[in-house]
Amino acid sequence: MPQYLALTYTADVDWWAPEQASELADYRQFAVDNADCIRASAVLHPTSTATVVRVAGARGGDVVITDRPYAETKEALTGYYLLEAADLEEAVAISAQLPAAWGGAVEVRPVIASK
């Protein structure tokens, strides 16, 4: 069965903040409702906690660490779900239940099957 990564793009929130509690509960409910087809999932700390790693030059070069390099955006990657679905339409139907779908956007990407 094909797998899809559903990436949630929403406001760059701190899921542990009290005002996010009710929305976080909605995501938990989504996970319960769709337990059959969710293979993995995560909610992410806000982008302010992100670290970007680069290796200068080529493999073996100096490891360069920076704070997130990108400008602040309205919507950030805030979580993901690895879904198993029969086809794109089924994956879309599941993703449409994610609160991110109306609070932001959900990007559905097919996963390359490992042989």
Partner: protein, 435 residues
């Protein structure tokens, strides 16, 4: 003799193209791979083009092509045996070898599957049009590039990416369930209407392309209505295209220049197409229980023009009312402008000019310079000076997928400089020539 040979060759080519598109749908289902099926049909059509001018078209051209395409598909699969999923391919070869010509209703279902896959909302609107031209109309990338005014290489890239997405994302090859149809039909109807709009650019396009995009759009509209006769939207699209196309015999003068609606010889309009368009529109309205969609309203506007015995006898008040309804459900700059035209014909040019001043600015920099010509009692639109007419023309046409103000006539003469049209275009009855 040369001419006769060419005609024979054209007939063969046309049969191969139309039948090839029909067998493709079934082959895609059988092999489960758009690219493989297209390659096989391509090889079969080449074989037919080589053989038929010599042997004559076989009594059942579709059966001949279908059988040949299946053999070609098996050949391709065997050639690619080294691929990792060869077990599955082995199965497919067996299924392909066990072959009977499917009955018509199965073919119809397959064609419908193909339509909904090509016009899937997960594909960009421009990709849907290109894919429909390739798979449903059997046009080559070069021909598609001609219709959409882009390069052959860009078209090939677009088609390749589309096939990759269909395969990788598993865009399903099936007809949506009855409950989903309402949500999925607008994308399909949008492709057909965009295609017609792309072909409806006689100012620049006449005789420049070997493909008649309007005829292809009409063929697809007939096909979709045929396959889904109970649905109101395909009937409305077919009605709109017929009512618009009915006026085409009067749209060009002997020199090939565009004749505006007010100057057209209405005796040359296709009365049969008009009658059928109106009948289809009424049927469509009955089926949607009077809840009109954008295509029905545009068809109703076209029907009003078609019904009028003369330009001055046009019921502009009714057309204005229809444009008000159209704008309330599908606001677009094109329809907004057309409404102003209707208003100035219903009242007077001054009213039209006053309304024009209130129009919101065009979304993507459509620019017009206005030139009021009270002597003629009409307002004329003049294009701004275009620094490079050829680029401008290309842009005007390629961007016109979806909508085109320039097609609206009735005295407004305009040329779009640049616009990314909204999905639902305005009425496209006739073309205003820049003068």
């Amino acid at each position: 003799m040369v001419a006769r040979h060419d005609t024979a060759h054209d007939t063969v080519a046309e049969t191969v193209r139309v039948e090839g598109a029909r067998i493709l749908a079934t082959l895609i289902r059988a092999v489960g791979d758009v690219q493989l099926a297209e390659d096989a049909v391509q090889e079969a059509t080449l074989a037919a083009l080589g053989a038929w001018p010599v042997t004559g078209v076989p009594p059942q051209p579709r059966a001949w092509l279908a059988l040949t395409a299946r053999r070609k598909a098996i050949d391709i699969l065997r050639r690619e045996r080294a691929r990792p999923d060869k077990e599955r391919d082995g199965l497919r070869v067996i299924e392909l070898a066990d072959y009977e010509l499917p009955p018509d209703d199965v073919v119809d279902d397959d064609v419908l599957r193909l339509i909904f896959t090509c016009c899937h909302p997960a594909l960009s609107p421009a990709t849907r049009v290109a894919l429909a031209l390739r798979t449903l109309c059997g046009l080559s990338p070069a021909q598609i590039a001609g219709v959409l005014l882009t390069s052959e290489a860009a078209t090939t890239r677009r088609l390749t990416r589309a096939r990759q997405k269909i395969a990788a994302a598993h865009i399903p090859y099936r007809v949506p369930a009855e409950a989903e149809l309402a949500a999925r039909l607008p994308a399909v109807c949008g492709v057909i209407h965009s295609l017609y709009t792309a072909g409806h650019a006689p100012v620049d396009g006449r005789a420049a392309y070997d493909v008649d995009a309007c005829a292809e759009a009409l063929r697809l509209a007939e096909l979709l209505h045929d396959l889904l006769p109970e649905q109101s939207m395909p009937a409305a699209v077919l009605a709109l295209l017929l009512l618009t196309q009915a006026r085409s015999p009067a749209r060009l003068d002997a020199a090939g220049d565009v004749v505006t609606l007010d100057q057209q010889d209405r005796g040359r309009w296709d009365a049969v197409a008009i009658a059928r368009g109106i009948e289809l529109l009424n049927d469509s309205l009955r089926r949607s229980h009077g809840q009109a969609d954008a295509y029905q309203l545009q068809a109703a506007i076209a029907a009003e023009h078609a019904r009028a015995a003369s330009y001055d006898g046009t019921d502009w008040a009714e057309i204005l009312r229809l444009y008000d309804l159209l704008l309330s459900i599908a606001p677009s700059h094109a329809a907004g402008l057309a409404r102003v035209v209707a208003a100035s014909e219903a009242a007077d040019p001054a009213t039209g000019l006053a309304m024009l001043a209130e129009l919101p600015p065009s979304p993507v920099g459509t620019r017009f310079a206005l030139n009021c010509s009270p002597a003629k009692g009409r307002t004329q639109r003049q294009p701004e000076n275009s620094p490079n007419p050829s680029t401008d023309r290309r842009r005007s046409r390629s961007d016109s997928i979806g909508s085109d103000v320039e097609r609206h006539s009735s005295g407004w003469r305009c040329r779009r400089r640049r616009s990314g049209g909204p999905e639902v275009p305005g009425d496209v009855p006739s073309t205003g020539r820049t003068s």
